[in-house]
Symmetry: C2
Subunit: 209 residues, 2 copies
């Protein structure tokens, strides 16, 4: 024995890192674990293990397990919302912009599959209060789609007998469902999917001239 004996030889694999860096790792690892096991089935033990630290040490960074889910979810939601809002504000008629929005939304989903899956699947694990804190008081995401459809309808580009809210929910359905079946390197590319879904969605609501 050449170590000071006993307790000191047992320094575990724990690297020491600056706060910011560890925080980024933590969010990344938590996202992946939530993705693989689901929020409720995932344990802080799982997350700590992958970071090479003890689960108690996580509390240096968080106040509760729920905080992790909240941060993961609100980050990806904020990002996705920025994408669609940016595309909704481009020039062109409302239907062209809607196509643009759909393409951006689907591509963002495919390129951030893990985060998006956690967002869409585990949102219901958040208590109602924090859920609406994420979504905004009246479903910001849905609003972008609905407003564009409503606008297009006023310009005669969309069937007059269609309820814009229902149309928005239909489009959001087909696009959000993508997280269920898209796999990178699979049968279709993200761009193919985005373009085809947009085409179907727009044909589905456009007025027949």
């Amino acid at each position: 024995m050449r170590q000071p004996a006993g307790r000191s030889a047992r320094r575990s694999g724990g690297e020491r890192k600056p706060r910011e860096e560890r925080w980024a790792e933590l969010i990344e690892v938590a996202t992946r674990v939530f993705y693989e096991k689901g929020y409720d089935a995932a344990s802080l033990q799982d997350i700590a293990d992958r970071l090479g630290m003890l689960k108690g040490s996580l509390y240096y960074y968080i106040q509760s397990k729920e905080d992790l889910l909240f941060d993961v979810i609100s980050a990806v939601h904020k990002e996705g919302l920025a994408v669609v809002r940016a595309r909704a504000g481009t020039p062109g008629d409302p239907l062209q912009r809607l196509r643009n929005v759909i393409v951006g939304h689907v591509e963002h989903t495919c390129q951030n599959l893990v985060q998006t899956t956690v967002f869409l699947h585990e949102l219901s694990a958040l208590p109602p209060e924090r859920r609406t804190e994420v979504l905004g008081n009246e479903h910001a995401y849905q609003g972008v789609f609905r407003d564009l459809i409503e606008l297009a309808q006023k310009e005669g580009l969309v069937r007059a007998d269609l309820d814009p809210r229902l149309a928005a929910l239909s489009v959001l359905g087909s696009t959000n469902w993508v997280y269920r079946w898209f796999r990178p390197g699979g049968e279709f590319t993200a761009e193919q999917i985005a373009a085809e879904l947009a085409e179907m969605a727009i044909r589905g609501i456009a007025s027949t001239e």
Copy 2:
């Protein structure tokens, strides 16, 4: 004290019922609890409480908690599949039949909202083996939609440049998403939703004449 004293007065609220009846109650209660809390967050304690029995007593009916989820899920899946298959087999051209299928699928979803939600949301909580045992080896549900679309395409009713698999996934997306926002007694009736979603889906894929 007129009871034989002590232990005997403590007969809890437990009613004794025949096996079949209790089994039906058990499935019903389990479905609701899984719906409200999610499978992982739900406990056998929750379920036993609502049945007025102890959690240990549940093992007279099941071998494991997972059995409950499996039974709930496979029941509603089987039922829904029967609905769409029946409608797929009606007379008419493939596009008419597809409309019929979509309407049936959406109405079944709305009329069995709790079961459908558990099915769609908690399917991922089943181990892969039992998951495919439910879905059938190659996604029976998806197949019904895809086959009809493929058939319609061969008859020139659907755009030739469209991949039937992608089209099926688009339709399944908009229709399956319904469980996320439909509420009985809300803004729209199940029949409205079914009809409108079917209309949009079919216009989205139909060939322009």
